[in-house]
């Protein structure tokens, strides 16, 4: 416990800034235009997805491209249960459904390593999408469903809550014994197994936990979509964006994914309105430049500048950042 209170003490400036930003965000709907709320809601949604992605893929090094699958499950939960259940229960159901699906996908795929895991998770999105599409057309005889509309402000607050939950979870998980087990898997999985970590269990459980949050986010934001079908719900972009945003922001700490998501989704918003036909091209160029010149993302850049200003007296701390 003393250890914990010490780390909390050391991070007081960060905590203070976070609380301040949180208070500002909570006040936004009271004094700004509806468009700002929607824009911020989208940014927060991407922050939630990116944080969830980084929760698992960051420490373990397994690049998951299944985010769209769990996001879609959340959306479909909202479409089916939105009319019969109150919002909090429905959102929780979305999380749980994704959690269960992740346990299954994880148990099957987490014995694969590296690129094979990425490919399999990506194809799981497509598999679910197509099966669902087939099921709707041939069995139900319909395509897609309407989703109950809930006010943007309410959705905004729920997503904000999810982001806060995710940041707190990430922060404490990272400093726990379980968090050490996760990063030891990323560092050297064989050694992790040898020292007595049940690597399969840790991987599957973390994967499911991360998916739980993705499901929550999907179920919440689906209420702004009005109508969904399998191709809208299981859009592969939702697999790629969180991954790219996390790389863009840096996955070293809690703030990287949030900053990445914020800058990236705002950039997307601007580009999509100004250059509707070329925005993906510009996007791609930005991504390539990031990977070439900012391998540790925006957070890595901040760290480098900080080290230069402070004279790099802590060599061990900066060597950790360089991979």
């Amino acid at each position: 416990m003393t250890n914990l209170s010490m780390t909390v003490k050391k991070n007081i400036p960060y905590i203070a800034i976070s609380v301040l930003i949180l208070a500002l965000l909570a006040a936004v709907p009271f004094f700004s235009k509806p468009y700002t709320v929607v824009l911020l809601k989208n940014i927060l949604m991407f922050a939630a997805l990116t944080l969830s992605w980084a929760l698992f893929s960051g420490p373990t090094g397994y690049i998951s491209l299944a985010t769209a699958a769990f996001y879609g499950v959340g959306i479909y939960t909202a479409a089916y249960l939105g009319k019969v259940l109150p919002l909090p229960v429905m959102v929780l159901c979305g999380g749980l459904a994704s959690f269960l699906l992740a346990l299954i996908i994880g148990a099957i795929t987490l014995r694969l390593r590296g690129i094979y895991f990425a490919i399999f998770t990506l194809s799981s999105v497509e598999l679910i999408k197509q099966v669902l599409h087939w099921f709707e057309i041939t069995v139900l005889g319909t395509r897609g469903r309407p989703v109950v509309k809930i006010s943007n402000t309410t959705v905004y607050y729920v997503v904000l809550l999810i982001v806060v939950l995710l940041m707190v979870t990430t922060y404490f998980l990272k400093r726990s014994r379980y968090g050490l087990a996760m990063s030891s898997i990323g560092s050297c999985e064989d050694a992790a197994a040898h020292i007595g970590i049940n690597v399969t269990w840790v991987k599957v459980l973390t994967f499911a936990l991360s998916s739980f949050f993705i499901g929550l986010t999907g179920a919440t934001t689906a209420t702004g979509l009005i109508y969904i079908d399998s191709h809208i719900a299981f859009d592969l972009n939702y697999s790629f964006f969180p991954t790219l945003m996390a790389i863009f922001g840096g996955i070293g700490n809690v703030f990287g994914p949030v900053i990445g998501a914020a800058v990236f989704s705002y950039l997307r918003e601007i580009l999509i309105t100004r250059f509707p036909y070329a925005y993906m091209i510009i996007f791609g160029a930005v991504m390539i430049l990031t990977i070439l010149y900012l391998p540790n993302g925006i957070i890595g850049l901040v760290q480098t500048i900080k080290d230069k200003v402070l004279g790099g007296k802590d060599a061990t701390a900066s060597s950790r950042k360089v991979n």
Binding site: S184, A192, H194, G196, T316, S319, R320
Partner: protein
């Protein structure tokens, strides 16, 4: 302490170990020598539960541990030194050591264990904040050995201690190993460096093509014609 009886292991259709029997008594250093591909690592993996044997049994301190998962085996007091040490490169020395005490029973005692390891390898204490990937070969070896000790094991399994080491470091590594034995660790050592391991071990087994072909005191083996011809080039 450890008894392996009639162990048979297959990889697919290929039989890798044939009726392997082996004993390790408390306080001993037992060497398992043989060429590349003889099945030494497979034998260790079968003991730690990373590979499931088709038949045969592994008994540790009177308890049947055949087929138990690795985490359960570590929990019982068997610690494993994987080939090349396999450190966590992006973690500090301290974190690497703490990870060695990951299992529940030793996690609470990790502070005491840490002191013990620092006492055996004082250099690790000095450098505890340094990243593992910035260490030299000898320091890595110390750290890997220190990590083995963190779970308070009774038996240490060492896979290819001299792997990738300069001759001088090989000698030092074997000295470290004797230091661990003097601190109460029983050791089963897997080595292709036959001469050096026979010099420090009490007993040895020779593994060839998945079969134990001879065993006995190191003195005997060092003088046996087969070992001298096949492994020592004499």
């Amino acid at each position: 302490m450890l008894e392996v009886k009639n162990l048979n292991v297959f990889y697919g259709n290929v039989q890798v170990l044939w009726d392997v029997c082996l004993r390790v008594e408390e306080g001993e250093i037992v060497a398992l020598v043989g060429a590349n591909g003889a099945g030494k690592t497979t034998l260790l993996n079968a003991i730690t539960g990373l590979v499931k044997p088709a038949s045969g049994s592994v008994t540790f301190m009177g308890q049947d541990i055949t087929g138990l998962p690795p985490n359960a085996v570590v929990e019982l007091g068997i610690s494993y030194f994987p080939e090349g040490g396999r450190l966590f490169p992006d973690m500090s020395i301290l974190e690497n050591l703490e990870m060695g005490a990951f299992i529940k029973s030793s996690w609470k005692k990790r502070k005491e264990r840490l002191e013990k390891v620092y006492q055996i390898f004082p250099l690790l204490k000095e450098r505890r904040k340094q990243m593992a990937k910035t260490l030299s070969g000898g320091e890595r070896q110390m750290l890997a050995m220190g990590r083995v000790l963190m779970s308070d094991p009774k038996l240490g399994l060492f896979d290819e201690l001299s792997y990738g080491m300069a001759p001088k470091l090989v000698k030092e590594s074997f000295k470290m190993l004797q230091k661990l034995r003097d601190n109460g660790l029983t050791i089963l050592l897997n080595e292709q460096n036959v001469k050096q391991s026979l010099e420090i071990a009490d007993r040895a087994y020779v593994l060839e093509n998945g079969r134990i072909v001879s065993g006995g005191s190191c003195e005997e083996l060092l003088h046996s014609d087969h070992v001298r011809k096949a492994y020592l080039g004499l």
